[in-house]
Amino acid sequence: MADFDTPLAKPGEGFRTDPDRWVGRLCLALRAEGLGVALSESVLAGHCVRSLDRDDEWDIFNGLRAAFCSSEGDLPVFDRCFWQLWGETLASSTEQRAVGTEGPVGPGQPEGGAGPELAERATEPSDLRSEAFGSAYSAAEHLTRRSFADVSDQELRELDAWIERLMLRLSTRRSRRMEPGGRRGPVDLRRSAASAVRTEGEWVRLLRRRRRRDPPRLVVLCDVSGSMERYSRFLVRFLLATGRAREIETFAFSTRLTHLTPWLVRSRVDDALAELRARGWSSGTRIGESLETFLRLHGRSMLGQRTLVVILSDGLDQGEVEPLERAMREIQRRARRVIWLNPLLESSRYAPEARGMRAALPHVDVFASAHNLAALRELPDLLRLQG
């Protein structure tokens, strides 16, 4: 971390000496922390500085924050970078001040030269990233070896066909946005009027509009814990399909959540899975916490009226029930439809008695089995997606 032996500069000194250069360095620091800073934003930041009182560090802070940040998630990253570069190294006090308490902070803590320190920080993984993999990681999560190789070719073909049908079924959502065409929709006055001009004002033809079809977005959350191991071959087909289809996001969860989509883009499925297994991904299940993580990190960008959420899990949860219920309620509220595939349904005697499953069930639109091909084949018919 900070090198306390380097000669200290007065906080804000670098900024006052050469604001433009300082803002440039802030840009670099923000980029190093993963904030996408566009050229237009650094230009905007320069303008901001010029219309602010340069002696007031809080105004500079707030102004640059408005220029550089573009979402709530950016704020803590910006706060950290700003104060670090400003000459403050104590992260804890930075956070308190970032909430907006009044009054400037005097030249306080000795701090390292900002330059070298930033370079150092840039090589550290950011807090956000480690959070994405969850904090529940423990060495106790043992490695589980499984082979997905024994899926027969016939089965693969059938699954492919099934997924194709599923996608076809899913692609029937109608948007609220209208497009020209159709015979029964509302009259398209604009085009009708335009065509009436050519018939001397007689409305010979009434042109109409209809609701456009929008492709849905699919979010698949797969339980990869030990209890779900038997069904992993089906799961893998799901994952495989995600690589091909356009708007599908895949997640794996056991005691924590992993966003699989980027992995599947980069490498072959088997490699990706092997790497994930090496991270200890399959002992125990904390569905509630995993879903909460999903909501926190991806809910805003992935859920919506176009989104279909598919959860593949047996609902045997080791975590608390309350977070699971809360998360499910939130997901159902924000997604178009929630489908829960539970392989245990294959047994006719099965009743969803597991606490987790019982808690989740009221917030599920379609509850179906996924234990074999026959069960999977039924699924597209269950997904009736009217307008």
Binding site: A66, S70, A193
Partner: protein, 295 residues
């Protein structure tokens, strides 16, 4: 010249809007740099109110564009006055050259201005509020980008219309959909959080000048406590104000468990939250406050 940060803060305050220095700084910059401002935050923290207060303070008209899915150019920008066009076509009769007629009826006098065009064509500076931009779809967002970067609009039949005065643009978003980076980059960004107790008290006093001090304090304490609970819809400032009004209207002497339960509908709007807040929970939320009313 441009109002400074403190002037901005006072200006908003004169309209009953309590802004902290950070918000005032962003508004000041938005005015000075003529940049749109994107305001995000939970429901009921006063995002829309900023635009209203801003318009009131600047003495400008407020033009509001409420976004929704399927919002299209004809609703946001312009539409042709078909009735008038038709009438014109009839009047011209058979003798007229169709090309001439067409040129006439697609002239400015047959144009109906919708909010965006209105804001651009206005002689005086207006405040343009683009409310809940996350509800509009990506296509509209892309269109908005063009308007916000150049402050000009192209109408195919008329050509390009440039802004006479640049409007002050405030966009709000509730985060139901992630906005594109391109749009975010065009804007100065501000995240509004729930106010702390002191700010909320100040807001209450400014909005309801006749409120009893004890009532205001008790309610703010309760609301701040409620926000710390895990409710699915935590009460916003608007709810706090409604709630105080309700309590005052009931003529309650003090804010006790009974009063709160009776007026809870003004504060909590979700059935599950409502069910979770029974008397004992409410009492325990009221108790850490200054004077426990229950004997």
């Amino acid at each position: 010249m441009q109002p400074g940060i403190e002037q901005t803060r006072e200006g908003l305050l004169s309209q009953g809007y309590v802004a902290d220095r950070a918000l005032a700084t962003t508004v000041h910059l938005a005015l000075a740099l003529e940049k749109p401002m994107l305001v995000e935050g939970a429901a009921g923290v006063g995002k829309t109110e900023i635009a209203k207060a801003l318009a009131g303070w600047l003495g400008s008209d407020l033009i509001r564009l409420q976004c929704y899915e399927g919002l299209d150019v004809h609703t946001a920008l312009y539409e042709w006055n078909y009735q008038k066009q038709l009438l014109r076509i009839r009047l011209e009769g058979d003798s007229a050259d169709p090309a001439d007629v067409e040129r006439t009826i697609y002239g400015p006098e047959y144009l109906l201005e919708r909010p965006l065009l209105q804001a651009i064509r206005s002689e005086d500076r207006v405040v343009l509020l683009i409310d809940e931009v996350d509800r509009a779809d990506e296509e509209f967002e892309a269109f908005l980008l063009e308007v916000l970067s150049d402050f000009q609009i192209s109408v195919p039949e008329l050509g390009t219309i440039e802004a006479r005065t640049r409007p002050v643009v405030v966009l709000t978003s509730n985060g139901t959909r992630e906005l594109s980076d391109a749009l975010r980059r065009r804007c100065l960004y501000f995240w509004i959080d729930y106010p702390d107790a002191d700010t909320e008290l100040a807001i209450l006093r400014s909005r309801l000048p006749d409120v009893k001090e004890a009532t205001a304090r008790d309610v703010v304490g309760l609301v701040q406590g409620l926000r710390a609970e895990r409710l699915s819809k935590p009460p916003g400032i608007a709810e706090t104000i409604d709630f105080v009004s309700a309590i005052e209207a009931m003529g309650a002497e003090s804010v006790d468990g009974e009063t709160v339960s009776a007026a809870l509908g003004a504060l909590v709007k979700d059935p599950a939250d409502f069910a979770a807040l029974d008397r004992s929970r409410i009492d325990s939320l009221l108790r850490p406050d200054a004077d426990p009313p229950e004997a």
